[in-house]
């Protein structure tokens, strides 16, 4: 085992030459090539990343647009729904108005009919009542009834207010100081006295009282003093009846209207 120092020196030189040669032919080129390749791959990856980012951006903008579209579609739908609801409301309102108008017309018609019927009824009732009263009073009329009417008239006269009394007094003065009491039947002396006394009390003692019979007078007593006249007749009762019938009819009509509105 020996060391040849010349060989050692030669080997050292050889080794250093080999280092230089390999650096020149192997490590340098390979490292550079790989670095360049790595750089290019990195560039490509970078580019791909950029493209991916661009694509993502595009996708996100597209999604945004889609969302926008969706929103506008939703809005359009909402508007359409609102318009439809508005239209429906207006149609309903129109229909309601129409129904209301028809109902009103109908009620008016009903009211007119009622009025017509009322008038008719009143007329007929009055007619019937007149006929009935005329017939009944005609049947019942006699001097006694006249006497009672005279009593009632006397009461009416005595309860007469001052204004009417003044008017009658003036009427009597214009008829040369006389009043005429008309009746259908001739009055007995007693009612005549009552009447005369009442007239004197109310209109003054100077007033002359004349009694006449009038055949077409239904039933009652009429005091005529010139152009003024005071009467007690069955008309009062007929009027009262008429008012009552009117009230009743109005009530019935109101009920009908309420039912119709329900």
């Amino acid at each position: 085992m020996q060391i040849d120092w010349l060989t050692v020196a030669a080997q050292i030189v050889n080794f250093l030459i080999l280092v230089w040669l390999l650096q020149h032919f192997l490590y340098g080129p390979i490292t550079r090539a790989m670095e360049r390749r790595e750089a290019r791959i990195a560039d490509r990856l970078d580019e791909a990343e950029k493209k991916r980012e661009a694509a993502e951006e595009e996708a996100s903008s597209f999604r945004e647009k889609q969302a926008e579209l969706e929103r506008s579609r939703e809005q359009l739908m909402e508007e359409a729904r609102d318009a439809a609801a508005e239209e429906r409301r207006s149609l309903e309102q129109t229909a309601r108005d129409e129904v209301e108008a028809r109902k009103k017309g109908w009620l008016e018609q009903l009211s007119a009919e009622r009025r017509g019927f009322e008038g008719d009824l009143r007329r007929r009732t009055a007619d019937a009542f007149y006929a009935l009263a005329r017939r009944a009073l005609g049947d019942l009329a006699d001097a006694e009834l006249e006497g009672r009417i005279a009593s009632a008239f006397t009461r009416q006269l005595s309860e007469l207010d001052d204004e009417t009394a003044d008017k009658l007094k003036k009427g009597a003065e214009s008829a040369e100081g006389g009043v005429t009491i008309q009746s259908r039947f001739p009055l007995d002396s007693k009612p005549k006295q009552q009447l005369t006394r009442a007239v004197h009390q109310r209109l003054g003692d100077s007033v002359d009282v004349a009694y006449t019979e009038v055949a077409d007078l239904d039933c009652g007593i009429v005091l005529k003093a010139g152009s003024q006249q005071l009467a007690w007749s069955i008309e009062h009762y007929l009027d009262a009846l008429e008012r009552k019938v009117d009230d009743e009819l109005a009530r019935v009509t109101a009920d009908v209207r309420e039912d119709g509105e329900k």
């Binding site: 050692v8 192997l26 090539a33």
Partner: protein, 249 residues
């Protein structure tokens, strides 16, 4: 039987004798440079690589990764030195299966030359890294009295590096030669296969140890990174001890 190829003189050029060691070293150099040149003259940067370029890239980047692992530093500066050590040794050791080839690493002269290169490279790299003052200060660590021991450590390390490689390669050659005379069939083939394996391992160990020494020198003087200073030394010790032991078994 020649134990070392130094004694085989192929050519006498006056006073200079070209022995087998130098000649086969040139052969290995020629082979390495030729292959490198053939492959790297048409390097491609595409993804489509030639087979050879791919092989060389794997080798070069494998070495870079190893250097980075050991040195924890950019491998660019160390690659030519460490990589050439590895490639030269591994090529020489593998080619020993070729009949007639005398591996130059089987010569103590060659391994001494390589160890001297490492011996010089270690302080060189350390000085390049952190300057001569910081490097020389290391020999006074931890105290001045340690100076002789530090120097002896440096030298013995170099000697061990040289002798380890020489012993392994030379023994392989010698064992094959002896076995051929004793049992000429089959057995030498097995031993040669084993020799290839140890050859590759030795190349790896030599290169890694060189890197460890350099890294340890750099770290001790470079960063002043005390905890890591002991670590590479331990690493070096274990690397020095275990793989040859494994091999010897």
């Amino acid at each position: 039987m020649d134990i070392t190829p130094d004694t085989i003189v192929l050519l006498e050029l006056g006073p200079v004798a070209i022995n087998a060691t130098i000649a086969f070293t040139w052969l290995v150099m020629l082979l390495l440079v030729a292959v490198s040149w053939l492959v790297t003259r048409r390097l491609t940067e595409d993804e489509q690589l030639s087979r050879w370029q791919n092989l060389l890239e794997v080798v070069v980047f494998g070495m870079r990764d190893q250097i980075r692992d050991v040195a924890h530093a950019d491998p660019g500066r160390y690659l030519p030195f460490i990589g050439t050590l590895f490639l030269f040794i591994v090529t020489s050791n593998i080619l020993f299966v070729v009949p007639g080839f005398q591996p130059p690493t089987g010569s103590l002269s060659t391994t001494t030359a390589l160890a001297i290169c490492v011996f010089v490279a270690v302080p060189l790299y350390a000085i390049l890294e952190s300057g001569p003052r910081a490097y020389l200060a290391k020999y006074l660590q931890p105290t001045v009295f340690m100076l002789p021991f530090n120097i002896i450590g440096e030298i013995s390390r170099t000697v061990a590096l040289a002798v380890r490689l020489y012993g392994n390669v030379m023994s392989g050659t010698v064992i094959v030669a002896i076995l051929i005379s004793v049992a000429p069939f089959f057995f030498p083939v097995l031993m040669q296969l084993l020799g290839m394996l140890t050859g590759v391992i030795q190349a790896y160990i030599f290169a890694v140890l060189a890197m460890v020494y350099i890294a340890s020198a750099i770290r001790t003087h470079g960063g002043g990174d005390e905890p890591t200073a002991g670590e590479p030394a331990r690493e070096a010790d274990s690397a020095r001890d275990t793989p040859p032991d494994d091999h010897r078994t």
